[in-house]
């Protein structure tokens, strides 16, 4: 006779654990458990058959996979949490007793933990990490804009700034940016990294109002993990491009007053943040990989390869978009965003040296082709050989993958609508007339290009 089968001894009932049971099993407080879940990327699961899992009770609970919890049980970081608990207790005691020396000694030996192994565990391959970069970038870029306040530690904010600037430098070096969009929330960027599409949003650089209903503790735990993740990703990305990490610049002779009374490290940081200079390459040299052309075979394949070819063409056009242009940014324009975008597509950028460090040439430079102005009138002293355009022109050009007519974007002109590049309208969807116009124009140009290329072939 086999064993008697009882209810709730196998299957869904045993595969899930409620949060309370998980806490008991892990011997952690709720706060520590949450921290652990955030760091390890453990989230509740919705059971397929709730009734089976609930074992007859009707209380609404959150359920975790039992295996996840068992996996957490062996996490070395839990011990660090416990050490930290002991540390806070000791420190409090020392402070309350007035033992300053003891408190100082304790502070020096404050337990710390590293997240390297967790990053590796959550993202076994590099592509996994890049795929999950969206949220990381959004948060890091947000924290990089925070002022020095109680909301987050200053070291964290500084590190966010550093890592985000490093990441932008990689994108510039790899020319990986694809789409940009200025929304009322912030500026969206979309880049293609290792074949993965990564999208993030950066808030507009305006004054910061600390919101009341946001728990910065939770966000700082996230940021803690994201920072170590982004650091490793940056390292890997830099090495893939053969750039030394941490990034290095060839500092020009000190001609700007703003940098004179800074230390060398601060100066490098400032110049990096300016993003006007290219990074120093590393020692190794990597050959550029190029795909050979294969003659088309069959009907269907030729159609696909034709599409690929078209895409490649438009991409190469995008990468050379601002190649022969020289920009000068007005002080009222969003400098960081514009510099990043323009440098991505090969332009030279500068601004008034009094605005910020990193200006490479002056307004009086005669070779400047475009000056970006976000005012109702162009500056009093106008140069004849340059266009005075509004910043939207840059964003629209990138999305159109083509240099648009400057006429619609001149200073003082009512701007055409700025459309989202992320929308791909289906057959039945509404398409704004401006977009229809744009698509038609692109099609015409494609045809023209094709005609040109075929003409050359003949």
């Amino acid at each position: 006779m086999g064993r008697i089968k009882r209810k709730y001894e196998a299957g869904a009932a045993t595969a899930y654990v409620s949060r309370k049971r998980a806490l008991k099993k892990l011997q952690l407080s709720l706060a520590d458990f949450r921290r652990l879940c955030i760091l390890k990327g453990i989230y509740p699961h919705e059971p397929k058959h709730r009734k089976k899992v609930e074992k007859g009770s009707t209380a609404i609970k959150t359920y975790y996979f039992r295996k996840d919890i068992q996996f957490l049980l062996h996490e070395p970081i839990i011990n660090k949490f416990r050490n930290f608990k002991v540390y806070t207790r000791k420190l409090k005691k020392a402070i309350d007793k007035g033992e300053d020396g003891q408190a100082k000694r304790l502070r020096q030996n404050k337990p710390k933990y590293k997240l390297d192994h967790i990053v590796k565990e959550r993202y076994p391959s590099f592509v996994d990490a890049v795929r999950d970069l969206d949220d990381c970038l959004c948060l890091v870029f947000l924290f990089a804009t925070l002022p020095r306040q109680q909301s987050a530690k200053f070291q964290t904010i500084q590190k966010c700034r550093r890592l985000s600037v490093e990441f932008l430098h990689y994108l510039i070096a790899a020319k990986a940016l694809r789409k940009v969009f200025v929304s009322i929330k912030g500026i969206y960027y979309q880049a293609e990294i290792m074949g993965q599409t990564v999208t993030w949003v950066v808030p507009h650089a305006r004054g910061f109002q600390k919101p009341t209903d946001v728990d910065f503790k939770v966000m700082s735990i996230f940021i803690e993990f994201y920072l170590s993740m982004l650091g490793f990703i940056n390292y890997r990305l830099y090495s893939s491009l053969n750039i030394s990490y941490p990034p290095q610049l060839e500092l020009p002779a000190d001609k700007h007053n703003s940098l004179r009374d800074m230390s060398a490290e601060e100066r490098i940081e400032e110049m990096l943040a300016a993003m006007t200079q290219s990074l120093v390459p590393g020692l190794k040299s990597i050959d550029q990989a190029e795909v050979d052309e294969f003659p088309a075979t069959g009907d269907e394949e030729s159609g696909i390869s034709e599409e690929i070819r078209k895409e490649q063409q438009s991409r190469s056009r995008l990468l050379k978009l601002f190649c022969n242009t020289k920009f000068f940014l007005g002080r009222e324009t969003p400098r960081e965003s514009l510099t990043f975008i323009l440098r991505n597509f090969g332009a030279k950028v500068s601004w008034d040296p009094s605005v910020s460090a990193g200006a490479t040439y002056l307004e009086s430079d005669e070779t400047i082709t475009h000056q970006i102005v976000d005012r109702n009138q162009p500056p009093a002293k106008k140069y004849m050989n340059r266009y005075y355009v509004q910043p939207q022109w840059v964003y629209d050009c990138v999305n159109a993958r083509n240099l648009l007519d400057v006429k619609d974007y001149l200073v003082g002109v009512v701007l055409p609508p700025h459309l989202s590049p992320f929308i791909e309208e289906g057959e039945d969807d509404y398409v704004p007339p401006e977009r229809v116009q744009l698509l038609n124009r692109a099609e015409d140009e494609g045809k023209f290009n094709a005609a040109c290329s075929s003409g050359f072939n003949v």
Binding site: Y43, P44, F65, K112, P124, D135, C138, T199, P203, H418
Partner: protein, 724 residues
């Protein structure tokens, strides 16, 4: 005068006094410095200039220290103090007054307590208040308890009080450290020690506790617990470096590591913004007033978009988005708090769901229709006119050469199909409900339902041999013994009667109720008549050869609409309002009950294979039953808008048709495959319109030609049409 000057000089010498003077200067700035003060300053300056060897600045400071707005220079020169002036005026001893004043101010109440009670209070609180606001010197006006007079303290007095308060000598000239004390013992040399106690032992041996402490330190140094400041600094730097130490984490990517991620459900990515979120959206994306108020009224969770589109003239004008931080925070919460579940969503292209239509070429032969000149209506090949009222029923002879039609004008007409010529007309007593040509090609017989009778007619068309043979057959068949309780009576038209010769009527079966429908068995010996409203006698099966009738049902089965014989098996199909019952006639039992999902079946037709039945219903539906699959309809077609009157299936080709009151005749391709695994293919092919609607009725009956893809329809406009 002289004392004042000296005091000034001394003040300059002592550096420690400068702070005091500065503080008093600060106090002075509280006063309104008026022209008087300036004059004050001038006079004092001139006086002090003879002593001052210092810079102008210092002297200025000094002079300000002593400037007083309330005192004229003359008064000032009468210093050392105002108190003295008061003294003379109010007859009191100077010593006592001064002490008591100072003490009172400082607060030594016990010293002068005995005097203070003696004086009555002058003026009430209100006076004090007014005085406080009006008198700028109120703060330094005190009341002399001995005299009862108000005294305004001078600057010097204030300075003295301050010094006493801060625990210094009242006289600022006193220097407590430079006093030449007479040395009393220096002259004598002591030869004996003060104490003759011998020294302790502990002053000769090293301390044990110190040794223990030092030992501890040495041990902790050896163990590396205690560090020198330089070591500590180095360590801290290393620690900081370690925090920022990044390396190639994915240098050896191991695919085995992903085993744990098997159950991982990646969080969905954030939705990308649309045109509405742009800072400069197209105007059609902006909210109208109603949309805006609606957006504001709806709950936060229910809103389709979490922002109000807004147009800004330039990028400079974009403000910070208020909820940016909240959105990121909500995302963080979603990432670690929100339960995840993988849901199978059918990601199907809707076009794939539509079954692939066969090429029209594959569906042929269907009706090769010619379109009329205006290309809108279909031209029919032949129109049969002659009836005076709506044509209820038509039927074709088994070879497809002749057609019989029964009409409400009480006539039955025989037509030649190809030419449309009316060959014969039979005038009967009542409206003709149904006509049916015997399906056996060797018998030339037509059953006509008129009133309560079914009349069998030998039309005498076609092959003469068959006509005569049929007559012989009818004559051969013996008349049945008349029994009581029979449901029907058979009567024969005598061969010399007018009906026999002219109208070719042969037999007459009389029923208890009116006959609504007749259907023949495939062999042509049996035919079933459906009576309307006859209860259990609704269906009566007649046998021609034995001239016998039987009533198969003992119980009423509902309102029987029509009956049909299976083409090659002994089955009888009886359609009531909602069900089709299939009876096995040999076993005499119900073999199947088909459920049509409709309210009122109007007509029924059977596929020549016998496994598929179609029914038309008054609620516009046409059901196709595949009896191998289920008792429910395999497919329901709703191509017509009004009640379906009749349906028919072609005997040879995969075609079926239905007529409806909305004037359309829908022809469908209905292919039944021999392969049991393949379900029938049903595709609507043509819509025919030809009849004119009269009295709300249009096409009434439809019949396919037995071996051509032709369709005949009869209509309420008293015509019959042939579509070929």
């Amino acid at each position: 005068m002289a004392t004042l000057a000296i005091s000034k000089k001394r003040q300059r010498e002592g550096t420690e006094h400068s702070s005091e003077s500065r503080s008093s200067k600060e106090e002075d700035t509280l006063f309104s410095s008026s022209a008087l003060a300036d004059s004050d300053y001038d006079s004092t300056d001139s006086e002090s200039s003879q002593f001052s060897g210092l810079s102008e600045d210092d002297s200025e400071e000094e002079s300000e220290t002593y400037s007083d707005t309330e005192h004229t220079p003359e008064e000032f020169q009468n210093q050392p103090s105002d108190i003295k002036i008061n003294e003379y005026e109010y007859d009191s001893s100077d010593e006592e007054a001064t002490i008591s004043l100072v003490c009172m101010v400082v607060g030594y109440k016990e010293y002068c307590g005995k005097h203070s009670n003696a004086l009555p209070q002058t003026g009430d609180e209100l006076d004090h208040l007014i005085e406080q606001s009006e008198n700028p010197d109120y703060w330094r006006t005190v009341k002399d308890p001995q005299t009862g007079q108000n005294i305004v303290l001078s600057r010097e007095d204030c300075a003295v009080i301050q010094r006493i308060k801060s625990g210094k000598y009242a006289d600022k000239d006193v220097n407590a450290f430079n006093i030449d004390w007479p040395s009393s013992f220096e002259s004598e040399v002591e030869i004996h020690p003060l104490s003759n106690r011998p020294e302790d032992k502990r002053s000769f041996i090293p301390s044990k506790w110190e040794r223990l402490k030092v030992g501890k330190m040495v041990h902790s140094m050896k163990m590396g617990w205690m560090k020198t400041p330089s070591q500590r600094k180095k360590e801290l730097e290393e620690k900081n470096d370690e925090d920022d130490h990044y390396y190639d984490l994915w240098s050896n990517e191991d695919e085995n590591d992903r085993s744990r991620l098997k159950m991982h459900i990646p969080a969905p990515k954030i939705t990308l913004p649309g045109h509405a979120e742009s800072y400069n959206p197209p105007p059609e994306y902006l909210f109208s007033k109603e949309e805006r108020s609606k957006w504001q009224e709806t709950d936060k969770e229910d809103r389709r978009q979490d922002f109000v589109p807004h147009k800004y003239s330039s990028m400079r004008a974009i403000p910070a988005f208020k909820n940016f931080m909240n959105e990121r925070f909500a995302r963080c919460l979603d990432l670690y708090l929100c339960p995840r579940q993988q849901k199978m969503r059918m990601n199907v292209n809707p076009e794939d769901l539509i079954p692939k239509l066969p090429q029209p070429k594959d569906l042929q032969p269907f009706l090769q229709l010619r379109l009329s000149h205006d290309s809108m209506t279909v031209e029919c090949s032949v129109v049969y006119t002659g009836h005076k009222d709506l044509v209820r029923k038509i039927s074709l002879d088994p070879l497809g050469q002749w057609m019989v039609s029964g009409s409400d004008d009480k006539t039955v007409k025989f037509w030649e199909l190809h030419t449309g010529r009316c060959m014969k007309t039979l005038v009967l007593d009542d409206k003709v409900k149904s006509v049916a040509w015997c399906p056996n090609a060797n018998i030339s017989l037509v059953a006509v339902a008129v009133g309560n009778h079914v009349i069998l007619v030998n039309p005498g068309l076609g092959d003469k041999l068959i006509v005569t043979k049929t007559d012989e057959l009818l004559a051969e068949s013996s008349p049945p013994e008349q029994e009581k309780g029979l449901v029907t009576t058979w009567s024969e038209y005598t061969s010399d009667s007018q009906e026999f010769t002219e109208s070719n009527l042969r037999l007459k079966v009389t029923h208890s109720k009116s006959v609504s429908q007749i259907s023949w068995h495939a062999k042509g010996d049996y035919f079933a008549a459906t009576l309307s409203g006859a209860g259990n006698q609704s269906v009566i099966i007649h046998q021609l050869s034995k001239r016998r009738s039987q009533c198969p049902f003992s119980k009423p089965k509902g309102l029987v609409q029509c009956t049909l014989f299976h083409p090659n098996k002994p089955f009888l199909f009886v359609a009531t309002q909602r069900y089709i019952r299939v009876y096995n006639l040999l076993k005499q039992e119900l073999s199947r009950k088909l459920q049509a999902n409709c309210k009122w079946i109007s007509s029924m037709a059977i596929h020549p294979g016998g496994d598929n039945v179609i029914t038309g219903s008054y609620d516009c539906r046409l059901h196709w039953f595949d009896m191998d699959l289920s008792t429910k309809p395999y497919q329901t077609l709703k191509h017509q808008k009004k009640a379906i009157r009749s349906v028919d299936i072609h005997k040879k080709y995969p075609l079926f048709a239905s007529t409806s009151d909305d004037g359309s005749v829908v022809v469908c391709h209905g292919m039944v495959y021999n392969d049991l695994m393949q379900n029938p293919l049903i595709v609507p092919v043509k819509v025919l319109r030809g009849h004119v609607t009269t009295n709300g009725l249009n096409a009434i009956d439809c019949v396919f030609h037995p071996n051509q893809p032709w369709l005949l329809t009869s209509g309420a406009d008293s015509t019959i049409r042939l579509f070929s």
